[in-house]
């Protein structure tokens, strides 16, 4: 039995229908416990103050924003190469979630920037490249919305996401070249000597896991909706043929 079997919409509906309640439950548990831990049981940091708590939303959201585009890239490739409908629909379903994650990262960042940097917005390369990522999401979503025929739309958006990924990465590099910026470095990377203290670290990990599970649950729900819409369309078409 190969993994590709789940690319059949009917099979996918069955399996995902079975999985969905579990994923939702797990996501709720991790997310809630992570956030509660982070917000109520973590001491205020000396150099960040109480506002450090934003990190439990900000960082997971920022991480998801990037990774969701990666996921869309992979599913788009699968659609282009193997023409599995579920794959294309999953990419379509993921895009608005990614856009919202980007927006959350931007807004929490802005809210955080106010106490930290004394300004709501700064043209820091990291922030700016997130803004650009948001624009790529918007373009991708708008293209899905604009094209009538679903297969045409899937093809076009797949091409867009491929080329877009390259240019998003390029923009990130260009933005770095353009301005040195204020933003925090990547303290998460393991080879860095300086870790943030474990007290902040564990609830953060939990939150990140919660965000991932939350995303999986949402994508499942949205993909199922897309599949149902297509099924409705197919039924109507068959009726017309008769």
């Amino acid at each position: 039995m190969s993994l590709w079997e789940y690319a059949n919409p009917v099979k996918f509906m069955k399996t995902s229908g079975f999985l969905l309640p579990w994923v939702v439950g797990l996501a709720a548990v991790t997310l809630v416990s992570g956030l509660v831990w982070g917000y109520f049981f973590v001491p205020a940091a000396e150099n960040f103050g109480g506002s450090v708590k934003v990190i439990y939303v900000h960082v997971p959201a920022a991480m998801m924003a990037i990774n969701i585009w990666g996921m869309m890239l992979v599913t788009s490739l699968i659609w282009l190469i193997r023409r599995h409908h579920v794959s294309a629909l999953a990419a379509k379903a993921a895009a608005p979630i990614g856009a919202v994650m980007t927006l959350i990262a931007l807004i929490t960042g802005a809210v955080w920037g106010q106490p930290m940097w004394g300004t709501w917005w700064e043209w820091d390369p990291r922030l700016t490249s997130f803004l650009i990522l948001f624009l790529f999401y918007l373009g991708y979503i708008a293209l899905w919305a604009a094209v009538e025929n679903p297969d045409t739309a899937a093809d076009l958006t797949s091409v867009l996401s491929l080329v877009g990924a390259v240019f998003a990465a390029l923009s990130r590099y260009a933005a770095n070249f353009w301005n040195q910026g204020l933003h925090q470095g990547a303290t998460l990377s393991l080879d860095k000597e300086q870790h943030i203290a474990d007290v902040y670290w564990f609830p953060l990990l939990l939150c990140m896991a919660g965000f991932v599970l939350f995303f999986v649950a949402l994508v499942l729900v949205r993909t199922r909706t897309e599949i149902r819409t297509r099924r409705l369309g197919a039924l109507q078409q068959r009726e017309r043929m008769a």
Binding site: W121, W123, T128, L135, L138, G139, A142, A146, W178, N179
Partner: protein, 218 residues
């Protein structure tokens, strides 16, 4: 008449565009400016009123060129011209639909863009007021340009060339209004001029546009 408005709005939404698109475009312009100009907050703040107004102009321009061109190409314009409805009304409705899909969303979202460009808080309300007063003139003048170029293929650039000079007074008073408002200077003149220009264009330009369309259909 209302039917025309509804149709135009529906078409704008169907084309995957409508309200959001104008905003997204605006956001892009605001994002691109610092790339060109540099990220220094003080410079950005000084040029912000101008950039925001230029962005409004451009969002307008980009959505203009097809305002009549599509109707011309598929023959609707001929049919509308023979319909029991004054062509002036058609033009005015189209300008209104255009404003609803590009001007209005911009007015509403302007403060966010103001923040991005470090516009001082005092200027925010003036930004909204100046856009609210000025953007209708942009749409109406835009339809005039579109009416002049309706029969031409590749009208895009030509249209901008015709229309942009007409936008100058609105642009000047609009940006000036924000600048003065931000600095606490007297705003009455700029305010009155802006409102006056808009009122006059909205009242008179549709007649010129309708005349231009009649000539182009002939």
């Amino acid at each position: 008449m209302i039917a025309l408005l509804i149709r135009d709005l529906r078409l704008a939404v169907r084309a995957g565009g409508g309200f959001g698109l104008g905003l997204a475009f605006f956001l892009i312009v605001v994002t691109l400016v610092p790339f060109g100009v540099g990220p220094q907050g003080d410079i950005l703040a000084r040029i912000a009123p101008g950039i925001l107004w230029l962005g409004a102009l451009l969002a307008c321009l980009l959505s203009l060129d097809r305002i009549f061109a599509l109707d011309f190409e598929d023959g609707s314009l001929d049919l509308l011209a023979t319909a029991p409805m004054p062509l002036e009304g058609v033009v005015a409705m189209k300008a209104f639909a255009h404003w609803l899909t590009t001007g209005l969303p911009l007015v509403i979202a302007a403060p966010v863009f103001g923040i991005l460009l470090h516009l001082p808080a005092a200027a925010q309300s003036w930004l909204v007021i100046s856009l609210l007063l000025g953007t209708p003139a942009l749409s109406v003048l835009g339809t005039f340009g579109a009416a002049l170029t309706v029969g031409l293929k590749r009208g895009g650039l030509l249209l901008s060339l015709l229309v942009l000079p007409f936008y100058v007074p609105t642009l000047i008073f609009g940006a000036e209004l924000i600048r003065r408002g931000a600095q606490g200077m007297a705003t009455e003149v700029a305010l009155l001029m802006l409102a006056g220009i808009t009122a006059a264009t909205v009242a008179l330009i549709p007649f010129a546009s309708a005349a231009a369309i009649r000539v182009n259909l002939r």
